[in-house]
C-alpha cells in the first residue's frame, strides 16, 4: 500500500516534470529563427543535378543537338516522348522535326537523359509549373528551344 502510494505520487511528479520539460523545449525553440522560406519572395537554390522536365540542348549553330536516334523514346517508361525527324541534304545527321514531351505522364525519372548518347538532352530548371489546362503540359520541345532564341528554323 505504501509503495503504491509512493509510485502514485512519483508518477504524478515525474509526469508533471516531463510536461514542464516539454513546454520548456517548445518555448526555447520559439526563440530560434524560422527555418521556412517565404516561397514566392525567396526561393531555395536548386541543386546542380535537379531533375526537372527535359529540355533540348542546342549546338553552336543553334540547332537542336538531337539526332533522332529514338533512344529517349525507347527508354521512357511512361511513353511520354515522341520524336521524329529527317535527314536534310548536306547535314551529317538527322534533324528533329517533332519532339514532344507529354509531361502529364512523365515521372521525372531521368532515364531519357541518361539514354542520350549525343548529349542532346538536359533537365530544365523550371519547377513553377501550374496550369488549369492539361494541354499546357504537352510540351513541344523544339518550340521551347526556338523560344529560347537559339534554334534556327
Amino acid at each position: 500500500m505504501k509503495s503504491d502510494l509512493r509510485s502514485y505520487l512519483k508518477e504524478i511528479i515525474g509526469g508533471s516534470i516531463s510536461l514542464l520539460t516539454g513546454m520548456w523545449i517548445t518555448l526555447r525553440q520559439s526563440f530560434r529563427k524560422p527555418v521556412t522560406v517565404s516561397y514566392p519572395y525567396r526561393t531555395l537554390k536548386l541543386p546542380e543535378r535537379f531533375r526537372g522536365h527535359i529540355e533540348l540542348k542546342a549546338d553552336e549553330q543553334g540547332w537542336a543537338k538531337c539526332v533522332v536516334c529514338m533512344a529517349c523514346q525507347k527508354a521512357c517508361p511512361s511513353f511520354c516522348i515522341k520524336v521524329n525527324g529527317y535527314k536534310p541534304a548536306g547535314m551529317p545527321r538527322k534533324v528533329a522535326t517533332i519532339y514532344i514531351l507529354d509531361f502529364t505522364t512523365c515521372s521525372l525519372c531521368g532515364l531519357c537523359v541518361e539514354s542520350c548518347r549525343f548529349d542532346a538532352l538536359m533537365f530544365s530548371r523550371e519547377y513553377n509549373l501550374a496550369s488549369f489546362r492539361k494541354e499546357d503540359y504537352v510540351m513541344d520541345m523544339l518550340e521551347r528551344l526556338r523560344r529560347r532564341r537559339i534554334c534556327r528554323p
Binding site: M23, T26, Q29, S30, P34, V35
Partner: protein
C-alpha cells in the same frame, strides 16, 4: 428613480455591445495567436499574407466562414442542429457579463457571481452535446457522449477547488474576491499559504480543469481530429462551425479571466502599484498564451486516460486541498 433606471439600462446595453465586441475580437485574435504561436514553436512564420504580419487573417477567415453555406445533413434534427451553435455561444458571452475587468469596469456584479459563471458554463456542455447528437453522424455522436463524460469528470475537481477558495474568501462575489487580493502578488490567492499550503497546486488543478472544460488540447476529446475527424463539429459548415469556434475561444477567455480573478489578483498590480484594467488583461492573455502553449506541446490524452486523470489524480488532490483548507480555516 427613473433617471437611474434609464442610465442603468443604457449602461447595460453599452456593456452588452462592448462585451460581444470583446468576445468577437478575442475569438478572432486568439485564433490568430493560435496560428502564430505554434508557428514560433515550430520554427515557421504563420500567416503573413493578409495584412501586415498577417494581422488581417482573422478578417479573411471570418469572411470566408460567412460566405459559406450552412449545410444540414439529411437525417439531422434540423431545429437542434441550428440551435446548438447559438446555444453554445450565448452562455459563453453571458459569463463575460459577470467578470470584473477592473475596479470600475464590469457589466454586472452579483453576490453569487462565481456560481452563476459555472451555471452558465454547464449549458455550454449541453449545447455541444446537442450539436453532436443532432448532426446524425456517428463520429459526432461519439463526441457528444465524450463531452458529457469529460465535463462531468472535470467539473468535480474544479468545483472542489473553488469551494476551497470560497471557504478562504468567504464570498462568491468575484469583485470582493479580487478586492481581497490587493497589494502585491504575495497577497494573491495562488500564494495564500496562510489558507492552505496547497494553493499553487489548486491553481494548477484549476488550470487543467479549465483546459478540459473549454475542450482544449490535450483534452480536446470533443474534436480529436485524428480520431473523430472534427468530433461534434464534423457536420457543421460556415458560421455554424464559426460559432463553435468563437465559443471555444470565448470559453478560453472566460476560463482565463476567472483564473486571473480567483488566483492571480484580477486587476491588481503584482507589486501593489497602480491597479487597473491593463493588469487584468496582461494576466488574462498570459493565461491564454499558456493555454495555446499547452495545446501545441502535448499529444492528446486518451478518453479513459483523461477520466483517470480526473478521478484518480485531480479529485483526490482537490479533496486533499479542500481538507487542508478546511482545517486551516478552522484553526486560524
Amino acid at each position: 428613480m427613473p433617471h437611474d433606471w434609464l442610465w442603468e439600462t443604457v449602461r447595460l446595453l453599452l456593456y452588452l455591445v462592448g462585451l460581444i465586441g470583446f468576445a468577437a475580437f478575442n475569438a478572432a485574435y486568439l485564433s490568430l495567436l493560435e496560428r502564430k504561436e505554434p508557428a514560433w514553436f515550430q520554427l515557421r512564420r504563420g500567416p503573413t499574407e493578409a495584412g501586415p504580419l498577417g494581422l488581417l487573417q482573422p478578417v479573411a477567415d471570418g469572411i470566408k466562414l460567412l460566405g459559406k453555406q450552412l449545410l444540414v445533413q439529411g437525417g439531422a434534427d434540423v431545429l437542434l442542429f441550428k440551435i446548438a451553435p447559438v446555444a453554445v455561444v450565448i452562455p459563453s458571452i453571458m459569463c463575460l457579463v459577470l467578470i470584473p475587468f477592473s475596479e470600475t469596469m464590469g457589466a454586472r456584479d452579483i453576490s453569487l457571481g462565481l456560481l452563476a459563471v459555472y451555471s452558465f458554463a454547464a449549458i455550454n456542455v449541453l449545447a455541444t452535446m446537442l450539436g453532436g447528437w443532432a448532426s446524425h453522424n456517428k463520429y459526432s455522436s461519439i463526441a457528444a457522449a465524450r463531452v458529457v463524460a469529460q465535463n462531468i469528470a472535470y467539473e468535480i475537481p474544479l468545483l472542489l477547488v473553488i469551494i476551497a477558495l470560497v471557504m478562504v474568501t468567504h464570498t462568491f462575489d468575484l469583485r470582493e474576491i479580487v478586492a481581497q487580493q490587493a497589494g502585491g502578488f504575495w497577497n494573491w490567492n495562488v500564494l495564500r499559504f496562510g489558507a492552505s499550503p496547497l494553493m499553487p497546486l489548486a491553481f494548477l488543478i484549476y488550470f487543467i480543469c479549465m483546459l478540459a472544460e473549454a475542450n482544449r488540447a490535450p483534452f480536446d476529446m470533443v474534436e480529436a481530429e485524428s480520431e473523430l475527424i472534427a468530433g461534434a463539429f464534423t457536420e457543421y459548415s460556415g458560421m455554424g462551425f464559426g460559432l463553435f469556434f468563437i465559443a471555444e475561444y470565448v470559453n478560453v477567455v472566460v476560463g482565463s479571466s476567472i483564473g486571473a480573478v480567483l488566483f492571480l489578483g484580477g486587476w491588481h498590480c503584482p507589486f501593489g502599484l497602480l491597479p487597473g484594467l491593463h493588469w487584468f488583461l496582461i494576466k488574462l492573455y498570459l493565461l491564454c498564451f499558456a493555454v495555446i502553449w499547452v495545446r501545441w506541446t502535448f499529444p492528446r490524452t486518451q478518453i479513459y486516460g483523461l477520466l483517470n486523470l480526473s478521478w484518480k489524480v485531480l479529485i483526490p488532490l482537490a479533496l486533499a486541498h479542500l481538507i487542508v483548507t478546511a482545517v486551516t480555516v478552522k484553526l486560524v
